[in-house]
Symmetry: C2
Subunit: 513 residues, 2 copies
């Protein structure tokens, strides 16, 4: 039937959505969340239907996605008919029933996700089915390849392309800001695409952005890497695996992450990585809790890498407390730059960065990788490379440690006991940093004045919270009355916690990729 | 933070939805599909967030649901903060991981579904998890009770309240239009709430609506039943189990229906049923394919009924071809009325109705139920009761067979062969009726001129299609070129079908409840 267009001026994150009057929807034969085909002058688009009583009969309300794709004007007349269910729904149903999916079937699903042909519920059903039924290696390969096929790719035409990834979950992990310049300084190509924080205090892209711009298209990234072997850019603007950005949204509130492996590997494949080192922070308070779990994850990642033609190695690292002494984008970037400039010694951060860079060196045939990495850092070659990258990405290559903008609202937390720092609770520290404004306010965060194992006297400073806004600092003060992020004492207490009725599970699900 | 209200004038089927600018969303700390709490003068509401680039900074776009619940005006200033995830998300996650859920947990989920605190994806995750992990009897009881607790209830204060249900899936099933007046004429209370078609050609509410109004609130229903022992109203306007209407929307496109049993039983419990007869149409082309399957389903229904305090019996009926000679709301209602008036003999319809009504009679202690039902029909008592119900529901109690509006666009389909009707394909017949305009156009439908087992000569009329609009009749003609709804021949052919690559599964999932 024919309907007159009403442009509503709303955007829906890429999804084509229309609003129909109940009467017209019945006439077309479509219900809410159903799909219609819209035709205008040989252009055709499938859109998802919302039923609205406020849209007039004979009218179709369209969002900006539909307006743009069909080049609609106010009062254009379009031809509308009910769209058959996309074939991919059948494949989702098959997965629900426990069947394995073929590459062609997974590709069809991923395509429909990217093109907006599946609604939010249908995408969630797929993710839920993957989580419950599991996916085997072939399916993981198919998912990775499908995400690559539906996104953009980097073409560097190099024999060796290195990459680094962290499974995440440990706060304060600014290791990438060291690994990339160290590796690039050795003449090895490392085109690093990083993520922003979703559930953490800062992602590598957030940290890097306090030093230099990080939003680039794929061509700009290519040209930067060709000039200096490396870059640290935000993956989100590269459109490497647009399907993944949609999947991750549905996973977040359900505390599941079945697409973790394909998500990681698709992005590495899309930048053309040939050698990949993956950091798996392990332990209480990290994403991966036990060494057994970490070993299994590593095996899967290596095997998936092999099938995709990426040489992959994994490193298990201690994940029970933050890396270095800072949390929050600016504070962390300043700490990393200070280490690159050899102006401060942060043993755990340096050790971790040199292990990762060193392993990459050894994978591509350089001996004594750890030592080589440390030398590149010590001699200032890493700093020089970092400043080269900063310049090419449009930052100030002469940036100093005083140029970082740190929040002016400060709260110092002191120890009430003497003894030793027995434990640091990653989740509580992240919660505090987020209450202070992270990741939105880049100047917000935490400086840890003590770390696990340090001796403490009553009244000593334990940590300092920085915020850009006093309103957010009061949120932190409220929070501090109910949580204890750092434990001080002479010995660990035996009591963990008591379960009265149903256990109250505190939200601590990390989904940053 | 404070935001100024912009009333967008869109409705979202009951869900409270707001639109925020990306900047404000980051400031509040919420992402798309996340939740915020909105406060205005002590009123508080949780709403689901959409990110929009067209909403101005400092402004919050609201849909009509939000406007009404908070009594907002254009440019009202509201206080907005990020809402914590509803607790029910944890319970959904537990089900996803295969855990059993307690009553309190299921109630929490169902409440949040009804109140709009869970988004489409999260509701689908729950339904998907139920489908894959299954639900045990206790969980089914909890779901039924939770749906009753979150909806309205009928209070008739009678010792015996009868009810009748069909699992559905067989077209042309107008049995309820006979069973209700037969049972009520015997002095037994039967407050029948019926559904409209979702995937079929007509639901009982659609059929009844061609005779009399069916949209009533719960109090009106109560008063009608008190006067004449029975009614045939649409369940949708009674709000008996609002959660179910939301669940069913997510199940539809995924071809799953894990909530079938709780859905049925919650609505029976909500009208106060004490004795329930359930029709399970069985066979190829029905919803339940085998007698073994039907037996298991019956066992579950009876057991669930027992736990809910409803005496339940099930009847397996032949479901391989339509009941009676008609499909489509008006045609079916006319056929039913004609049988009530003893003006035509439709053996399978009469037989089925008398078995169902008769079983109810026997359940409550009346002997020779089948015979009693048949007598009530033969003596015209059922017709008299029907006309009483019609009058109380606001229809014309003197309605005759010529008063039905049947589509004027007619297409006759003749047999190309001589022989016997070997099979009738329920799904194809429904597809044709729907192409002709059912269930939207009440005058659309099919008259079956032959049924299974009938002798046919080449050129004999097989069936006749009626449509209200010529455009829709041409859709039927297109369809008829690709499907064969009725098979004529001397003997069944051995060939069923060939599988070349992946089998093309034709959509035939019945979700009408």
């Amino acid at each position: 039937m024919q309907l007159r267009v009403d442009i509503l001026g709303i955007e829906s994150g890429g999804k084509p959505i229309v609003f129909l009057n109940k009467h017209d929807a019945d006439e077309v034969g479509v219900t809410a969340s159903g799909r219609i085909k819209i035709n205008l002058k040989r252009r055709e688009l499938t859109a998802i239907v919302n039923i609205s009583t406020t849209v007039k009969i004979g009218t179709i309300g369209v969002n900006n996605e539909v307006r743009k794709k069909l080049d609609l004007r106010q009062h254009s007349v379009v031809e509308v008919e009910v769209a058959t269910f996309p074939k991919s729904l059948q494949f989702i149903h098959h997965k629900l029933k426990g069947q394995r999916l073929l590459y062609s079937e997974i590709l069809e699903i991923v395509k429909d996700v990217v093109e907006g042909n599946l609604n939010e519920g249908e995408i969630t059903a797929f993710v839920t089915a993957l989580d419950i039924q599991g996916l085997d290696l072939d399916e993981a390969v198919s998912l990775s390849s499908s995400m690559v096929a539906t996104g953009k790719q980097l073409h560097l035409r190099k024999k060796i392309i290195a990459d680094k990834h962290s499974i995440g979950g440990v706060p304060g992990d600014k290791t990438t800001l060291l690994v990339v310049p160290i590796v690039a300084a050795a003449g090895v190509t490392i085109p690093k695409a990083s993520s922003r924080a979703i559930t953490s205090a800062a992602g590598t892209a957030d940290r890097a952005e306090t030093i230099m711009p990080v939003n680039f298209g794929i061509e700009e990234m290519e040209s930067i890497v060709k000039k200096c072997n490396g870059c640290i850019v935000w993956g989100g603007s590269l459109e490497l695996a647009p399907a993944d950005d949609i999947f991750v949204r549905t996973e977040y509130s359900l505390y599941i992450d079945p697409l973790l492996l394909p998500s990681i590997m698709s992005k590495k494949k899309a930048v053309g990585a040939t050698h990949l080192i993956i950091d798996i922070p392990t332990g209480r308070g990290a994403k991966v809790k036990t060494i057994g779990e970490a070993d299994l994850l590593a095996k899967d990642l290596i095997e998936l890498g092999r099938k995709l033609g990426i040489h992959t190695q994994c490193i298990l690292t201690h994940g029970e407390m933050p890396v270095g002494y800072t949390l929050g984008a600016s504070l962390e970037a300043r700490e990393a730059l200070s280490v690159l400039m050899n102006k401060s010694n942060v043993p755990d951060l340096i050790d971790k960065a040199c292990h990762l860079a060193g392993s990459l060196f050894e994978m591509i045939g350089k001996d004594n990788g750890y030592h080589l990495a440390k030398e590149i850092l010590r001699t200032g070659k890493a700093e020089k490379k970092m400043r080269e990258i900063i310049a090419l990405q449009g930052g100030n290559p002469r940036m100093g440690l005083d140029d970082f903008k740190i929040g002016q609202e400060v709260k110092e937390i002191k120890s009430k006991k003497s003894g030793q720092v027995l434990w640091m609770d990653n989740n509580s520290l992240v919660e505090i940093a987020r209450a202070a404004g992270s990741p939105k306010d880049k100047g917000a965060g935490i400086i840890l004045n003590k770390k696990e194992g340090d001796r403490v006297k009553s009244g000593d400073l334990l940590f300092t919270v920085y915020a850009e806004k006093s309103r957010k600092l009061s949120r932190v003060e409220d929070l501090l009355s109910s949580i204890e992020p750092i434990g001080v004492g002479e010995r660990k207490e035996m009591f963990i916690h008591k379960i009265k009725e149903s256990p109250v599970v505190k939200r601590a699900f990390v989904i940053d990729r």
